[in-house]
Amino acid sequence: MKTGDASSPSSRGQISIRNVSKVYDPDGAKVLAVIDCSMEIKAGEFCVVVGPSGCGKTTLLNAIAGFHGITAGEILLDGQVLCNASQKAAPGSDRIVVFQNGALFPWFTVLQNVTFGPVVQGGISDKQARDKAREMLSQMGLQGIENNYPSEISSGMRRRVEIARAMMNDPSVLLLDEPFRALDALTKTVVHQFLLDVYDKSKKTIFFITHDLEEAIFLGSKVYIMTTRPAKIKTILDVDIPRPRDFRVLSSSSYIRLKKECIEAVHEEALKAFAAGEREMA
């Protein structure tokens, strides 16, 4: 899909995460969530971050989105400092988040949800926004549900609408925080394919967080495997499976090889996380 004036779509959305650390200090008990983490995400790259639950993956995403600050290091978007130790990023429509449990406004219809960004940002009329939204929804195969409320459509459909709502703003980066976690396996395959199509057509930078290895390899171009808390990068995997991808990838030899590499790295961390958990319990 050609969105407006995006002449060379991969010209923006480059993220540099440089030596980022984050300490949570809720009540005197310092918790180190992320330590000295660095990533270079090229514009238009599908980057997936994998790690055990509670390892601090979401901390990175929240810092990029501007929901909270970092304690050390800096994060740059297209060469501009987004945030550093002294300054939190402000949330903005150039970095749109798709949330773990979904955050379509239940009180708005699908169409009102999808037009929310353009309407509040102003610049185009409500009618133009609606026309644009209808066009985008039908390009994404989501026509016919414009006037339904989120509660009236399936969970898989809701996820797709939320991605459409994000794409309406032509963001530099799409931030996805375990977005398909609550979906059943069948729905997941449909939504995966949907996201891959969106990515192939738009070539947006995608920052995708998950703890599901298969999902990570199937979707991503680069997979960052994080250590258990405090999170830092353990392994970086280049996923050389060509695009466009579909379900056949899942039985290819390169997929299986990558998965094996991945499992070994993650299993070690999962054991550490488990042991750490037992220590805390004792």
Partner: protein
Amino acid sequence: MTNAASPTANEGNAISSWEITLFSLKQWLKSAAPYLSLLGIMGFVVIWYLTTERLKLPWFKKLPGPMTVFTEWFSQDPAYGISVYSPEYYVHIFKSIWRVVQAFFLATFLGVPIGLFMGWKKTFKDYTFPLLETLRPIPMLAWVPLSILMWPGREASIIFLTFLGSFFATVLNTLLGVESIDEAYFRAASCLGAKPRHIFFKVILPGSLPFIFTGLQISMGFAWFSLVAGEMLAGEYGLGYLIWNSFIMVQYPVIVIAMVTLGVIGWLSSALIRVVGDRLMQWKVREIAR
């Protein structure tokens, strides 16, 4: 906001709100619920009849029975002057309704914005919440002397009492409504470029509507409660006054007529709030209708 009821604009996937109302009404009539409710009410009347007029149990001896009450209520020539045929009956009803309407709307138009603002701005809540929580538990009857001292004339003090009763419930429920909104919606809105006024009107207000309307139903109940207390002490007209005056004048059937009237009107006013709420919250109705 666009109305969802536009069958031409889509593939007929969205149903109109009217159809949903009709459908749920039909479902309700098909179920056992309405008939059981009717049986319940009839059972109560039968027990009332047996204890008062039939068996004449000692501690029910002085109470008017249903036969006496209904004969009086529907009599063309009522013994105590109050029946469906006497204009005075309606004067009392309308006086009470008018007082509740004034007090309830005042409480809603002040209480909802204050509650929303308390939920939105932490500092404002810090200023006001302890005050609210101290004033709220004070029983309405305790306010009677002050409200008589404060306001010129009875009318204003009755309305003030009624207002107080419903105000606190409205503020508190609105505040709870704002606090019930998932943080993710605020984050999503700010991601999508919403400014503070958009957050207020497109997230906080619609997001807290379910709690607001629950609060309004509760506050309507409190309004009637406080109204009757106020009218008993300071009224000249109104159902509360009628109850107290009939007690003093030993016109016992009139007490029950006024009580049942209060019950019916109270129930109708709650139902009205529910209907308005359902119209404003189609998304909630549809969730339930699924």
